[in-house]
Symmetry: C2
Subunit: 338 residues, 2 copies
DNA sequence: CCCTGCGATTGAACCGTTTCATGCCGCGCC
DNA sequence: GGCGCGGCATGAAACGGTTCAATCGCAGGG
């Protein structure tokens, strides 16, 4: 019934060797005689010895940990990104800790501070505010940071993002191809860079196709959630038939799913009465009642590349910051294909 | 451009005080003169001082961290549980680290080992195998552990779970009430305790209602995923009309959503042609094309209670282990209500 | 029998922080 | 003017593991 706390010293004593030898068993077993080693290992087992990572780190000066501070752990998009990071971390033999800022700046700040104090090898983050000074401060103080899925005006770190303007364009070009003459953009808040970019790309494509500005209806939402998508659906139903868009492009899939569900529940058909394009292509998108057309982002790659960058910054002295931009891709499914 | 690594000693020197004073500024500011304190704080800022948590922990012997090792970070059920834990951790002023075992025993073991070495205050875990010896070993060596959403034969820690046998019973009693004479149980693998319990409860309720054993069809799946749910739907469609169940109880919502989607895509109607009950009541369940009847588990409470227990074990010397069992609840929606 | 060389083992120093017994200083009181 | 006291400030010791120069012991050669 070991309570907690056999140290190398205790193990050394129990095994009748010096503490240096115990350390050798732990770190360079080949230098220790087979016999000695097994004696030490037995002592470790007997005492329930657990290496103290703090002491180890203190001496070594670095940890074997990577962290991802995610914006919203409940959004499948971010957990997919996390999965990509995880793969890369595993390959580099590092542990990954996930932190959830839950879209709150204070919580994010606390996580950052804690991680910095832990001397993690690097921090990946999808920040609440990509231009926050805190990020720059942390980077300047020496912890490698990579901003994921956001671009930033602030220098001092790498960013990995997807071209959201292009994504918006792809979505709308598809709808134009399908012959729609009046469409809605559903999304918000516009303070989120992503949302603004997707909107801008969408609108630009609409105008470039020679459509009229007043036929591009913007439905702003409070948050990119299923509930808000449903609410947007209700607003849409409220429009007089003549002024009602025949298609909607939603800033993410959660909104699209909400809109889809609300639309179907009122007996209207998809895509005949309303075509819908989402964004992110989360797994639930393909599995919706009417499979959802969506703009796919290379989520896992996003995470994996970000992890590579942060590790490069941590280990390669001549690392230079870079802004990686991935290209999104439209996946057409039944929700827009008559 | 601080590279990394001003220590209290450097700060002390820069501020012209002793290192003990710097430490006092950090930990007991009231003991330090206003003037001295501001001088020290200025020095900290100038040098970009970041407290070294390793050294701190080494001295203090404990960390300010809790960890949750989750079975599958991509399943909304577990992220909801994590949210509950997070609230409790925040209230106790601890950081929460999430680790994803991704259903792999080896990864789980690595995480456990790493966390143990970090001397986290406690570990919450939904384990791959609740009877694994490793859990017991870690607990015995002194790290408080609470097993979440699994029950275990192994002693040495608290568990927090939901009564899955009851959940299965609720689901089937509801279907019996709706007059179904032949139903399917969709789920697997049966090695997962949850799945087995839900099946057992379901079958018991079926027989208790006086229905015949051969009218309880079991469709075993490889994994509890959307894709497998769809596959089960195909098998179901393949049955001759006379032998085809009129309702299905799925071991979780992902399976149910897959089944629902496949069924609708073949033009059959829900619930008229097939009634469906899911399990977990994830947010996507209510948002499905036909809102899903589901057995709700108090996910956040599950997490919050688990966090309380692990903290009690960590701080209260006369803690005793307990097995908490929550009661599930049926939420009836359109997928079963004609 | 002594010396050399080599691998195995040793233990002191160190990492950065906290703690605590001790020192210092100035002030008020007798 | 001396004494005691309170409020600050000091710095050595300790936490547990890693490292590395130094030491030990043994086998083999001279």
């Amino acid at each position: 019934m070991t309570v907690r706390g056999a140290s190398v010293k205790d193990v050394a004593q129990a095994a009748g060797v010096s503490l240096g030898t115990v350390s050798n068993v732990l770190n360079r077993p080949e230098r220790v005689t087979e016999k000695t080693r097994s004696r030490v290992e037995q002592a470790m087992r007997d005492l329930g010895f657990v290496r103290n990572e703090s002491a180890r780190q203190l001496r070594l000066g670095k940890s074997r940990t990577l962290a991802y501070v995610m914006l919203d752990a409940r959004n499948p998009f971010f957990t997919d990104v996390a999965a990509g990071i995880d793969d890369a971390a595993e390959a580099a033999e590092l542990s990954l800790f996930l932190c959830n800022s839950d879209n709150r700046a204070r919580k994010e700040a606390e996580h950052l501070e804690h991680l910095e104090q832990q001397r993690v090898q690097g921090i990946l983050i999808t920040p609440v505010d990509p231009n926050s000074e805190l990020l720059e401060t942390v980077a300047r103080r020496g912890t490698p940071i990579v901003v994921v899925d956001r671009s930033s005006n602030v220098a001092g770190f790498c960013t990995v993002a997807v071209d959201d303007v292009l994504g918006g364009r792809l979505a709308v070009e598809h709808l134009v191809d399908q012959g729609h003459e009046r469409i809605a953009f559903v999304g918000g808040p516009f303070g989120i860079g992503q949302v603004a970019d997707r909107h801008d790309g969408a609108k630009a494509a609409w105008l470039a196709a020679g459509r009229r500005e007043e036929d591009f209806v913007v439905l702003a939402t409070d948050a990119p959630t299923v509930a808000d998508g449903r609410a947007a659906g209700e607003r849409l139903s409220g429009l007089p038939k003549g002024r009602r868009p025949t298609a909607a492009f939603c800033a993410n899939d959660l909104l699209a799913l909400g809109l889809l569900q609300q639309t179907m529940s009122t007996g209207r058909r998809i895509p005949d009465d309303l075509a819908i394009v989402g964004y992110d292509d989360i797994d639930f998108a393909a599995a919706a009642a009417v499979p959802l057309t969506s703009v796919r982002q290379p989520r896992q790659q996003l995470g994996a590349r970000a992890a590579e960058l942060v590790l490069d910054e941590a280990n390669n002295p001549q690392h230079t910051h870079q802004q990686v931009v991935f290209t999104p891709e439209l996946v057409a499914r039944a929700s827009t294909l008559g």
